[in-house]
Symmetry: C2
Subunit: 268 residues, 2 copies
DNA sequence: CCGACTTTGTGCGTACGTTCACAAAGGCGT
DNA sequence: ACGCCTTTGTGAACGTACGCACAAAGTCGG
C-alpha cells in the first residue's frame, strides 16, 4: 500500500548513545535519593537493590536498570555504597550546585511554599518572592522581603534565578510566565490551573491538585459503582454481546460495565 | 441508535478491557474538562478536536483517541458539542456526585488547601479538617473547625469521607494513613515526602514539590553550559559526535550531551 | 585458592502510550 | 440530489516502559 516505506523516510534517531537518561528514570532518581539519605542517616553504609527498591517503593529490577543509566556503580554480591550513590545521583540531578529559585504570587500557596524548609535542604535556595498586591509587597516572609512584580526582570537577573515557582491566579499566569522567561528563567514549576505555552528549551512542570483529586474520584467511582470491576462478569457480557450481534453491539460492549446507556437519554 | 452504526467489519471486541480507560487518558480528562469549561464560559457551543487539543496543550490525535474511549460523542465534519462533552467527561470522572474530602495536618500547606476555592467548584466538598496540635485544634479555617486527630475515625465515618488529603509531616504520615484507611478512606492524596504503603484497593497519589524541583534541576543542568538550548544545533552536534565517535568531541557538544562521559573519568 | 553464595547488570518478551495518516461520516452549499 | 469539504474515529507503526529471569561478576568463609 501507499503507507509503508515510512521507516526509510526518517533517518533513524535511536537512543542518543546511552547518554540520554529516560524521563521516567529521572523522575524516580529523587525518590532513590531520599531513601538513600534516610539510610545514610541511620548509618547504613551499603544497600542492595532489593532493599533500596523496597524503601523507594519500586521494583528492584527497575531500580537496577535506572541506576545502570548512570553507570556501573554497584558491586555484585554486595550492593551499592550509600554515600557514593548519593553523590552520583545528586550530581546527575544537578544538586551539587545551588539553584536560585523565585516564587511569584505570594498568596495562600506561595506563602506555604516560602515557609517550607524542605527545599533549602536539597540545594534550592529561595532567592526572591514576588507579588503584585500592594498589601503583600514589602512583607517579610521566612526572612525574605516580598518584592513588587514590576521589579521582576531586575530581581531575576540580580539573583541569577533560573527556576521559578508560579503561584499566581490562573489569569495572569501566562503573562507572568512570559516575563519570567524573557528575564532568563528556563524552568517553571506551575501551580496555576492553566496550560502554559513557552518557547522551546524552557521546561514547565505543573502541579495541579484539582486534577489529582479528579483522578482519585475516577477510581473512587469505579470502586463504589458495583463490585470491584468483576472481570468475569465483564467477559460474560462481552461474549453475550458477541453471540447476539445485536444492532448496537459496539456500543453495548463499550459500555458493558455500566448503564451509561441510560444516561444517553439524559442528554439535553 | 441515532448516533452511529459503526463498520461491521470489526468484531466488537476491543479486548477484555471493554470498559477500562487507560490511566494516561484518565489523567488527561480533567485537562480537557477545564478547557471545555473555559470554552463554555465564552459561549462556544461546538469545538473541533484540533481546537480543544490546542487549548489543552496536547496532540489532536491523542485527544480524539482519548475521547473515543468514552464513546462516540463527536460529529464528523463538525466537532464536539461542548456542553454534552462536559457532561460525559464529568460523568466518567465521577464528578456528577459530591465527594467528601478530609484534610489531615493543618499546617502551612493544609491551611492553604483549606482556603483554596478551586476544589468545591469541582465537586469536592471539604468535609473535615484534622490536626494533632492543641493550638490548631478548635481553630476555624475557611468556615470549618479543626477537629482533633483522636476523633479521626468518628469524623471520617460521620462525614462519609472516602478521599483524604494528607498534609502532615513525613514522620506520622504512614500511621495517619493507616488510620484513615482503617476508618474507610480509599483514596489518599499525599503531600508528605514518604512512600506510603496501603492495602490493595486503596489509591494513593502523591504530590512532591521537592521531586518536581529536582527534575527541573536535572534539565536545567543539561541546558547550562550552552546558551538557550537550540534543538537544531544540538542534533547537528550529536550527529557529529556519532560520526566521529571519538572521545574528544567538540567542546560545545561535550557540554550539552557528553558531560557525563567526562564525569565518568572523575569517578574514584 | 576454591567453591558456594549473593547480587548486579541486562537481554528479552510484553504491555502501554503516542503519533501518523486516511477511510468513512456527515454537514452544507448549490 | 449530489458532490465538496471538514472532521472524526481508528488501524497500524513506532517508541518507551516494565519486569522476569539469568549469566556474569564479585564476595567471603574455609
Ligand atoms: N491554595 C491552594 O491550595 C491551591 C490549590 C490548587 C491550585 N492552586 C492554584 O495556585 C495558585 C495560587 O493559589 P493561592 O491560593 O495562593 O491564591 P491566592 O489568591 O491566595 O494568591 C495569589 C497571589 O498572587 C498574587 N498575584 C496576582 N496577580 C499577580 C501578578 N500578576 N503578578 C504577581 N502576583 C500576582 C496575588 O496578589 C496573591 O497574593 C492559583 O492559581 C490557584 O488556582 C492553589
Ligand atoms: N509547605 C510546603 O510548601 C510543602 C512543600 C512540599 C512538601 N510539603 C510537605 O507537606 C507536609 C506538610 O507541610 P507543612 O509545611 O504544612 O508542615 P507544617 O509543619 O506546617 O504542618 C504540619 C501539620 O501537621 C500537624 N500534625 C503533626 N502530626 C500530626 C498527626 N500525627 N496527625 C495530625 N496532624 C499532625 C501539625 O500539627 C501541623 O499543623 C509535610 O510533610 C511537608 O514535607 C510541604
Amino acid at each position: 500500500m501507499s503507507r509503508t516505506q515510512r521507516s526509510q523516510l526518517r533517518p533513524p534517531r535511536p537512543g542518543i548513545r546511552g547518554r540520554g537518561i529516560p524521563e521516567a528514570t529521572v523522575a524516580r532518581l529523587p525518590l532513590y535519593l531520599r531513601a538513600l539519605h534516610a539510610l545514610a542517616e541511620r548509618g547504613v553504609a551499603t544497600v542492595s537493590s532489593e532493599e533500596l527498591a523496597a524503601a523507594a517503593g519500586v521494583n528492584s529490577a527497575k531500580l537496577r536498570k535506572d541506576l545502570s543509566h548512570l553507570g556501573s556503580y554497584g558491586t555484585r554480591g554486595v550492593g551499592y555504597e550509600v554515600q557514593y550513590l548519593v553523590y552520583q545521583i545528586s550530581r546527575e540531578l544537578g544538586l551539587t550546585q545551588d539553584w536560585a529559585v523565585a516564587i511569584v504570587g505570594i498568596g495562600n500557596l506561595g506563602r506555604a511554599l516560602a515557609h517550607y524548609g524542605g527545599f533549602a535542604s536539597r540545594g534550592f535556595r529561595i532567592a526572591a518572592l514576588l507579588d503584585a498586591a500592594p498589601g503583600v509587597v514589602g512583607q517579610t516572609i521566612a526572612g525574605i522581603t516580598v518584592e513588587p512584580i514590576d521589579d521582576l526582570e531586575r530581581v531575576i537577573k540580580e539573583q541569577g534565578v533560573s527556576i521559578a515557582v508560579l503561584a499566581t491566579p490562573a489569569g495572569p499566569a501566562q503573562l507572568v510566565c512570559d516575563r519570567l522567561v524573557a528575564a532568563g528563567v528556563t524552568s517553571v514549576l506551575n501551580f496555576a490551573p492553566v496550560v502554559l505555552s513557552v518557547a522551546e528549551g524552557v521546561h514547565v512542570r505543573k502541579v495541579d491538585l484539582s486534577i489529582e483529586l479528579q483522578i482519585l474520584a475516577f477510581h473512587e467511582q469505579r470502586k463504589s459503582g458495583g463490585t470491584v470491576m468483576d472481570a468475569e462478569r465483564l467477559v460474560r457480557e462481552l461474549d453475550a454481546v458477541d453471540a447476539v450481534d445485536a444492532v448496537d453491539a459496539t456500543e453495548a460492549a463499550g459500555e458493558a460495565a455500566e448503564a451509561a446507556e441510560a444516561m444517553e437519554g439524559m442528554r439535553q
